[in-house]
Symmetry: C2
Subunit: 297 residues, 2 copies
């Protein structure tokens, strides 16, 4: 098993799209450029969804065009459909991500489409991406529970993950979108998916709603996963809003990895400083415990 | 391995002694009585240390005398020396706890005594407790790191734990006082101690300074530990003060246990409500993610 863990920093996208406080385009660009300087290898920059759905990221094209693209760092963006793919490609995007839920109820509520409909919508994107030399990452959400249907059968998680992988996604990110999972369930879910898809093509994505994200990640690392999604400053949703749930903080993940003797190439003090700077923009304290602790020392 | 995990609720003692905001005696009594109603089996009520050291708990005798002592629930109190033991016994205490660090530097800085001096000071307490039919719990602090000496050799942790056990402590609580540990170190530490003392006589005690407490607890549960210390609302130290570090929140521990299929007999909604009530008294939001999440639903 490799000792290197790649962190996929999702703060600028998954984080900011769920924050109530608007962030100026110039600050989003500054955020990504600061993150680029910490040693992170993958930074999800923005989402080319309709501004009607996610007004927070209406400036996707300006953000992507404005960031400094450093060699060796991937800057994927989310695309919900071909129109989003077109907009992303128009500004030179080289990697995209598509997303669907493992829960039928969640997918219908949030995208107005069934899972199979979502998958069908991705097929032309995957085809065009292959022709364009664009890499595609696949997100599966609600893998450990759904706010509408409750339990999500493991078989559904496996089916959706396999479909995305067979369609050509080079990596499948398995997301506990509402942060309800605990280590035993997380392990069983990862094992079930890894029985069908190579572990090297899997990533885990936890939200910290119930404070279990780091424990879940530690367990999945034990199982062999080597790609972890996280958001600087634990961005993504105010802890007091109904159903809200921030992403696990990248700072806390890096601290965990260092303690486990795993490499990720990220400079922790610099990442924590960026997290506190972002928290300031969002008008709150950083949700990263490491970010708080390092500020106090 | 048993499926029952006993939570030792340390909020009224370890929590409140590290909070800046003073809590009225009547509120401390109400806190313990509320906790007694949640199903907790052990609630550390207060500390009979000198009020000059810990002014927050100067009302130890009043608190202990005021609480409703329910059958089947233990209400241990901390005693630093024979004088504390006398004061505790004068109000009818049936279980006490003694504490020393595994780090010589920490023990000298915080108690003005070397470890061996502390251990020698406990001997008459243990002798008298045995004669009085009083149970004694032993705390070993700084088991995964020390703010003064940095690394703490495992051999020192084992030596101090063994000394307390041999002296007659029925249970040894292993504390990551400054919350710096990660799962690999936590596992190695627990294994080293468990090689000398039966696992059934060990407890773990984590602070959440770097967000790793739940992951460390999950790992120690895997190793077989079945007693976990925690504090409702994550009480104990403001996250912005230098070196401060709250205890892991009891609510988050209960959520973890439920997810792992382990019993603890605690009513989570009622515990979370008590945690939010305490946070209100302390003039802040609860530090428990579960407490926040349940409030939002």
């Amino acid at each position: 098993m490799s000792d290197f863990v790649r962190i996929v920093e999702v703060g600028p996208r998954d984080g900011l799209q769920n924050e109530k406080q608007a962030v100026a385009t110039a600050d989003k660009i500054a955020l990504i450029d600061r993150l680029s300087a910490t040693g992170l290898r993958t930074i999800e920059a923005t989402s080319f969804v309709s501004p009607r759905w996610v007004p927070q990221l209406a400036d996707a094209a300006e953000v992507y065009a404005g960031i400094q693209r450093r060699p060796g760092i991937a800057y994927p963006v989310l695309v919900p459909n071909e129109q989003g793919y077109d907009r992303a490609r128009a500004v030179g995007v080289q990697e995209v991500a598509v997303f669907t839920a493992a829960s039928e109820a969640f997918n219908r509520t949030n995208t107005n489409a069934g899972i199979d409909e979502s998958l069908a919508r991705f097929e032309p994107i995957l085809r065009r991406a292959a022709a364009d030399g664009v890499r595609v990452r696949g997100y599966v959400s609600t893998v450990l529970g759904c706010p509408y249907q409750g339990e999500v059968p493991l078989a559904d998680v496996v089916r959706v993950a396999r479909a995305l992988h067979q369609m050509g996604c080079y990596e499948i990110s398995l997301g506990d979108t509402i942060g309800v999972g605990t280590p035993r369930k997380a392990r069983a879910m990862l094992q079930a998916v890894a029985a069908e898809i190579p572990m090297s093509a899997l990533a885990v994505h936890f939200h910290d709603t119930y404070g279990q994200a780091i424990a879940n990640i530690a367990t999945c690392l034990e199982e062999g996963v080597r790609v972890v999604d996280s958001a600087v400053s634990g961005a993504g949703g105010c802890p007091y809003a109904k159903g809200a749930s921030g992403n696990v903080a990248s700072e806390d993940v890096v601290y965990l990895l260092q303690g486990l003797g795993l490499e990720c190439g990220v400079d922790l003090p610099s990442l924590a400083e960026t997290g506190r700077w972002l928290a300031g923009l969002l008008g709150r304290a950083t949700a990263s415990r490491v970010g708080q602790a390092l500020a106090a020392t």
